[in-house]
Amino acid sequence: MGETLVRTEGLSLAYGDHAVLRNVDFHIDPGEIVTIVGPNGSGKSSFLKAVIGALTPSSGSIWRKRGLKMGYVPQKLHLDPVFPLTVQRFLTLTRRPAAGEVGSVVARLGIAGVLGQQVASLSGGQLQRVLLAHALIGQPDLLILDEAAQGLDQPAIAAFYRLVEALRAETGTAILMVSHDLHVVMSASDRVICLNGHVCCEGTPTVVSEAPEYRRLFGQGTEGALALYRHVHDHRHEGADAQGGVQGND
């Protein structure tokens, strides 16, 4: 597997006096897909911020592999309309690409048609692909996705996470994502960590979805989680079927 990419020990985070996360032991290895699930306010996003180095731990430690290259996919960009930025320019904004790299990433993510467009004018799905493409430039060891599929409809979410899974297979990058699209995301993961101010439970998707701590947080209807994913994998339907899957009534 190679050397662990990021490891935290007893990591606690706080905003002022308000503790958001306590005592998190975490690690991610090369090529792994780890998903963090948790209700709103569970500290998921704060945890990601600590991993990328945007938030300093109030106690505990965080260790990153020397020279670790991260690719970060934010939820949104919140670009002001007064900020002119074409997709083409954005892709190579933070890292200089290797020769031919932009072309292959653009082709792989199917965004050749929007290269000349303004980033601020992209639709939700296009923006997610562009953000993902940007994060892939420079061949990161670790791809970090913060609620990346938020705002997409169910089939698009499933397609997005299949793409993420495929990218791991093609590039060998490790992937750490945070999501509340539990059902789809969990099945695409090697490991799931359920967070609610602390680590409630963790393990393979099957283990976590059957853990009592997880059920307490997300209710009983989660048996459908894996079913939906397999279902979506088999054949593509719009709307109604996916909806049924979400309810867990399969």
Binding site: K49, I52, G53, A54, K69, M70, G71, Y72, P74, L77, H78, L79, D80, V82, F83, P84, L85, T86, R89, F90, L93, T94, R95, Q118, G138, I144, D146
Partner: protein
């Protein structure tokens, strides 16, 4: 025959404009319009303090602008409602500065000159300082361009990809403070914000990339500075406001042209 005095003033104004244009783009992109106001108002407080302490004006203004920006940066990181704080700070600094300048009974101060600029008060030594300060600020911007751009798009993304947005932001406010300090005698505390914002807003109309917008902003600022100064000399109007009026004319023309082009397409 061109007046050598006019030439020197024009050169200083062109350098200030060339720097203000691209810096102003970042002021817009980072939604710091109010911050620019605060720095320029703090500059007036700096003038009052330097006069009270019999210090040269420019370093005093630079110090005051940097002190206020440092306080703002720290406050901004801690409070979410930085807007209110900026509003309070901007107008308090302005009022304190005005009161302090008036209280300095012994010193005869041309207050209006510092508010709207007074090119007749600019001597040769000032011109060197203006040119040096503007070029230094522009050089800093060129040096930090990419990091500052990345940081302005998304902070977390910048950090994850190995940039330092907090540091870039601090260097940016230093550039602003530097420009305000050297430009205040020439264009005045009340007009500096306009020099930052208006050419950038004009440039946005014809730009598709940040680099092009910055270049166009510098270009429009220089055009406005020269035509504003020519107007100021011909009609005997104050230099700072004349330059800003020229910027307004350019902005209106560019917006109209854009509107027409969009209709014709």
């Amino acid at each position: 025959m061109i007046d050598p005095f006019f030439l020197r003033i024009a050169l200083a104004a062109v350098l200030v404009a060339m720097t203000a244009g691209p810096l102003g783009c970042f002021v817009l992109w980072r939604r710091m319009v109010f911050f620019g106001d605060t720095i320029s108002h703090a500059a007036l407080l700096g003038i009052a303090l330097s006069l009270a302490l019999s210090m040269p004006v420019m370093p005093g203004v630079l110090l005051a602008a940097m002190a206020v920006s440092a306080v703002m940066l720290m406050a901004g990181a801690r409070f979410h409602h930085a807007d209110t704080l900026l509003g309070v700070a901007a107008h308090s600094a302005l009022a304190l500065g005005l009161v302090a300048v008036s209280l300095l009974g012994g010193v005869r101060v041309n207050l209006v000159g510092y508010l709207i600029g007074d090119i007749l008060a600019v001597d040769t030594r000032d011109l060197w300082l203006i040119a040096g300060g503007a070029l230094l600020s522009l050089g800093l911007l060129a040096w930090r361009w990419r990091g500052l751009l990345v940081s302005s798009v998304n902070q977390e993304m910048a950090i994850a990809h190995g940039w330092h947005p907090v540091r870039e932001g601090a260097i940016f406010t230093l550039m602003l403070a530097l420009l305000v300090a050297v430009a205040i005698k020439l264009v005045g505390a009340l007009m500096i914000s306009a020099m930052l914002i208006m050419p950038a807003a004009t440039a946005r109309l014809g730009a598709r990339t940040p680099e092009r917008m910055a270049f166009l902003a510098a270009f429009w600022a220089v055009i406005a500075a020269i035509s504003g100064l020519v107007g100021s000399f011909r009609f005997d109007t104050p230099a700072g406001p004349s330059i800003v009026v020229a910027m307004l004319v350019l902005l209106v023309l560019a917006a109209s042209a854009r509107w027409l082009l969009d209709r014709l397409r």
